[in-house]
Symmetry: C2
Subunit: 420 residues, 2 copies
């Protein structure tokens, strides 16, 4: 049985993640590894923590990745603070709100939900009213819903949670690195970011941050593994309500990422190299410039889509800048369009989940994929494919509209990661 050398097609990846990885990140991953307790490696771990704080816009002591894909970060924070019977409020406005419910329920929380239609977000006052009614220990909410392309305003909710002594946990997997996520200013207690979206790092890590309000709960449930515990550690175990998961036990992860460097797992070396390089790219570009870049490309894409004669899906006032949802026109087979884009143009765009499956396409403009040539190529290709599938678009208008945006917004039109 022979397995050939890895040989992959080149794709233009315009989904809401995973997106194209910056070549500098790919290169960083091919660096020979170091041992996990090598001082040269623990220095890198500390640098990653420092860079994460800057990207999360926080002064939190704890900011490090969980070694798993994005949802592992959700589970790590939630399972470390939820004890059976704890009340959790989850406002749901798309698929990933359901995921939060699912995780909380599995760990024994009494989950209260409010829902709004997919494609809308909550008026913060509605959420705050519900918080007052339910008095939960935790409110868990998604920031950017990739399933619907909507972004929930959080600041008012955060301030209210702090006043009411409710913990606010936010899934910012899709938004981090692509638009403002102000952990401290918005009074977010625990937050999960994603790597494979606006950070343009491969999937496989979930950077998280949490503050001392969450740390206090974690410390009260702290445990040191028997195989490595000292006598002192054993005597300190007062808790009869340990965190259920060993892998996601933040009290142990803290001891690994903190100065004690107590062995837990073996840190995923090459992924740390990737994350470090991805964060460096964000900081080199600068948060404000990076967010502005995402906005400009979003504008060009939106202008092109509209000019073509297609309609956007969802509340445009609360649009997630890095995800654009497009209604699939009547009579058009959405999957046939996606298939032709992939097979003829080597472009990937996404469908959606649940109630939106078959109704919308989703185009991501995230991180390194969020480049002018990609926007123009996806518009040109979508036009051609729609014509081929029998949908009469406004021929030639999409690219003109997109170019108008670019010409209006910048003089320098280059190719490259920071370029617009």
């Amino acid at each position: 049985m022979a397995f050939p050398e890895l040989h992959t097609p080149m794709r233009t990846i315009m989904t809401p993640g995973p997106v194209e990885v910056d070549p500098r990140v790919l290169r960083a991953m091919s660096t020979p590894i170091l041992g996990q307790f090598d001082p040269a490696f623990t220095t890198i771990m500390n640098e990653v923590m420092e860079m994460l704080r800057l990207v999360f816009q926080t002064k939190n002591k704890w900011a490090f990745p969980i070694d798993g894909t994005s949802r592992s970060g959700n589970e790590a924070i939630l399972c470390s603070i939820i004890e059976p019977g704890d009340k959790v409020l989850v406002p749901i406005f798309g698929r990933f709100g359901h995921l939060l419910v699912e995780i909380c329920e599995r760990y024994g929380a009494e989950v209260h939900t409010i829902e709004c239609s997919w494609g809308e977000v909550f008026d913060p006052q509605v959420v705050i009213k519900e918080i007052k009614k339910v008095s939960p220990k935790i409110t868990a909410i998604v920031h950017g819903e990739t399933s619907t392309g909507c972004m929930q305003p959080l600041k008012e909710i955060g301030v209210a949670c702090r006043e009411l002594d409710v913990l606010l946990v936010v899934d910012a997997v899709a938004s981090i690195g692509g638009t403002d996520v102000k952990v401290d200013e918005w009074c977010i207690d625990g937050l999960i970011g994603g790597t494979q979206k606006c950070l343009s790092v491969p999937s496989g890590m979930a950077p998280i941050t949490y503050n001392e309000r969450i740390e206090k709960i974690i410390q009260s449930r702290k445990k040191v593994e028997r195989g490595i515990a000292t006598e002192e550690d054993r005597q300190k175990v007062l808790s009869h309500r340990p965190i259920i998961s060993n892998y996601f036990d933040l009290s142990m992860l803290q001891d690994y990422w903190g100065p004690r460097r107590l062995n837990h797992h073996t840190e995923a070396t090459s992924m740390i190299y990737a994350l470090r390089e991805g964060l460096r790219l964000v900081l080199e570009e600068g948060l404000e410039k990076r967010f502005a870049r995402h906005k400009i490309h979003e504008s060009a894409l939106v202008a092109g889509v509209k000019a073509m004669g297609l309609t956007l899906f969802g509340d445009q006032e609360n649009k997630l800048p890095c995800v654009t949802c497009i209604g699939i026109p009547e009579g058009i087979d959405g999957e046939a369009v996606r298939g032709m884009l992939l097979n003829e143009f080597s472009i990937e765009i996404a469908s959606s989940f649940g109630p939106l499956h078959g109704k919308i396409w989703r185009i991501g403009t995230m991180g390194f994929s969020c480049r002018k040539e990609n926007i123009l190529f996806v518009l040109a290709s979508l036009e051609a494919v729609l014509l081929r599938q029998g949908f009469e678009v406004n021929r030639g208008e999409a690219l003109q509209a997109a170019l108008d945006v670019y010409v209006g917004k910048t003089e320098k039109v280059g190719v490259g990661r920071g370029s617009i």
Copy 2:
């Protein structure tokens, strides 16, 4: 705040993991990524499953990686089959037996343990007697204990478990790819391998396999996430005892790795590329040849260590071929020796945990690190450092003894991954 380009020292990594990554694996990781449902990517996923079956020596349908470090594989299998109150027997002969206990207890198992001294393994009959006494649902045991360098014979235990209708779950993180692990022949129901040890792939994935006995339990607890469930899925949820972890829920992971391709997490693309290349290297070398290579380098290392005048630790009859434990001589500061090896020679060897901390050094001979030049370099360096630290070794003997092994075992003395 400026973060410089990643710049790491080159190390000779002779710990029991993580070990040096094969350059072909590093290169595979720098391949541009694909979307997770791109047919080109799902083909790669299927290839990885097929290669894993060969390395695990199994015909099991299910063989895929968990996206997390090694212990995530332990947790995934155990949490997917343990329900509160289930009896689990864990025979402990080192640190990682304690880890199995810890995971099982957290998920509510009634854990029974037997222990033997660190540095020994169990007479299989002792374990079988205990199984008969306890009548557990599951026996969970480590195959190769990296903390003590011992390897537990499993076949008799496996056959007995099958006869007694007990599930056997094995942690083969340290042994897979370095010595025989015969999942089917040894009647192992669920098994966890590691990437960063004898496979020479970076840490961050945990390849697992399990058979239909385990699948049956998983299927009875099956759940489809609300955000993506169809009406049919919803009606099928009969279970009131779902798996607690969402991330490690094998019933959902099966639906992602199987033909349904139901979205769970976003597969860690670059790590899959790495694992694929690591497995290709194992299969190209051939299991028998690879295991023989590990044995020869072990022999050379052991001969050198003995010739130097040092003593080996632990039951040599049941030695893990890829980990050699050495007693730290009286009056010598083990950490000072390790520090000097790292700082002067850029070589990393390991200490150990718990009762063995400060008493032994552990030298790994795993995967790509398991090369002649590495063995010779570590012996030469250890000799020099010990002399410097005031321990009078038999000068010059170690390398002569190691070379004798190599000259006796092979004519061709090359440098390279498959070479001895």
